[in-house]
Symmetry: none
Subunit: 401 residues, 2 copies
Amino acid sequence: MIDFPYLKEIVQTTESKILMVVADGLGGLASGNIRQSELEAARIPNINRLAQHSACGLSTPVAPGITPGSGPGHLALFGYDPLKYLIGRGALEAMGIGLELKAGDLAARGNFATIDSKGNLIDRRAGRISSDQAAPIAKRLNKVSVPGIEVTVEHVLDYRFVLRLRGENLSEKISETDPQITGVPPLKVEAMESNASATAQAVNMFTANAFKEIADESIANALLLRGWANAPSLPSFGDSLGLNPAAIAAYPMYRGLASIVGMKVIKTGPDFSSQVQTLNDCWDAHDYFFLHYKFTDSAGEDGDYNKKVTAIETLDSYIPELLELNPDVLILAGDHSTPAIMGAHSWHPVPFLIHSKWTHGEGVSRFNERELRQGSLGVFEAKYIMSHAMAHSGKLSKFGP
Amino acid sequence: MIDFPYLKEIVQTTESKILMVVADGLGGLASGNIRQSELEAARIPNINRLAQHSACGLSTPVAPGITPGSGPGHLALFGYDPLKYLIGRGALEAMGIGLELKAGDLAARGNFATIDSKGNLIDRRAGRISSDQAAPIAKRLNKVSVPGIEVTVEHVLDYRFVLRLRGENLSEKISETDPQITGVPPLKVEAMESNASATAQAVNMFTANAFKEIADESIANALLLRGWANAPSLPSFGDSLGLNPAAIAAYPMYRGLASIVGMKVIKTGPDFSSQVQTLNDCWDAHDYFFLHYKFTDSAGEDGDYNKKVTAIETLDSYIPELLELNPDVLILAGDHSTPAIMGAHSWHPVPFLIHSKWTHGEGVSRFNERELRQGSLGVFEAKYIMSHAMAHSGKLSKFGP
């Protein structure tokens, strides 16, 4: 939690409220014929006006040149060093579909696959069967029993599912079952550490029993497991910072990330107006709010420049309503850049502002990649964003005598 | 290698090519009557145009306020933390004259000296004898034998030479023989760690035998040894980054530095046009190129402001030819600043640009110390330059799910 060794001694609880708006994949890029980044092209009078009275900068999500996934991107925003606290693929996949993870749980990503009568793989993705076909088979897998372990299988999409094992001493240090080629049988799981052998045995028993359970399925008569990950164990965000935090996110993965750091995840609707309504509804009950806006990232990932511009403009239109709540600290940040011209996450530093009664204008007139680096925060590591949030809300006392 | 603990998991090999042009001692300074830095005074239309479409910043070679030698300066550019990977003086001196160093080799800087009949030092630099006088004496020292050790002595300049010992378990943890005063005998080498005593014994035997060998020399009848250094052992640049790297440098020290990180050092001529020709010749065979330009540093070290301006302009004139190679990533960097008004290396952050299809203009119109700090990279540690190079060439996949 916040990369400051004497944090505990300086944290103080106050009445002030922090609203952190995370626009996923906020940063963009201009290149070649595209002369303006998405933020530069967007009409964002409200955000620009805010920037004119904020402390501004560009945040480096993880490290220079490193393109983060959503996991490390968000952990940094919450004040966790993303190189110290890792979330495995299986765990994030479980979060992504809203499958609850408790400390000690072990999760894996699963593929349905096809094997022949000798047990050799014919298709590692079961002909990419549809969700309609795969969902009932995933359901069948919940019947598979392994002594001492609670087995949960939940369908994700097409041929993919998540396996969650709940039990004693389950270790993620086991190998994957996908041999990466066809014509051979799926691999047995092996322990990669001595204290993972019981887990390996249990998983191999699960697989053997699962193959029996679905042997009569014509295409998806086998499965492959990869991305083993224990539920990450992180220090509590609220306890560490003396906050009573609430998370308002429409997408399961971000609710999962918030939940895993101990935020209270508030039920909300699928669109941003519902989220803002939820924010209004729970405003009195909390002092930190993580409000997640997904649509900047999804438009960027689609490589749809105009859609991303529109997503930014839509976010801008909500700023007056957010300001009406009169937060002591308002942050607008992104977990990483997703330039539409790249159609993917990128390593580029991310536009950032923090607004409080202790910020003044910095000569920055517009909120975009080119202008914000002139701000007083310069180019800085995202893991320090929460330090700024705490400072500006009066929640950090003096360090040292 | 690149200060990112999960590097191995995200490195991916692609077809793209990285050209890193290192202008030695690139950064300069204005002060007093000199109103412009060397870069500000130089006419560099090609570099300026490049900067207008690049990601820009100022690189801190080692740490704020620290003036680096060529060793740490270059190691940082190659992605090695210069505080973690050290190159001792003896090793760098050996590299500087092109003397090959293998893992385990032990090198020292040597002075010829003069002793009287009682063995007391009269002159610690043998009257600063000329190269003409010293070279044959250095040659004689190659006849000195020490059991189990291969002795190589190579003349450097004037009264200076390099000693290289090759054998088993040679340790740099031994003391120097220069007592720093005259009227006393040269010191015996002592082990500074218990497992260095065999080395200390061997070196004392070398010195004793060497004194006998050159006892008949009138002035240079003794020698002093200092700067003991084992050949540094660094992780391979190419293996760590999935690159097939080539180094094109005219000066032995830079070839030595490239060689010690495992780059293929390509034979080239003494002037920059030969180096650029060599670059063209080997372009198809590699995917990373370290192209070293020495003349900015040597002019700066000479304290010759106009000469440094000219050296910068000369480099500028080669940019179109470099761009014709169409590198996916083009970097212009310096290992440190060498302001002509200081006539020496300095700690000042060094102008930097990286150009790729994923960079856009940043409002920076000219490549110099004053403007570049406005770039998106801000003032950043040079050890992250290779992270940027790898990111911009598509050679790093996403970190974390």
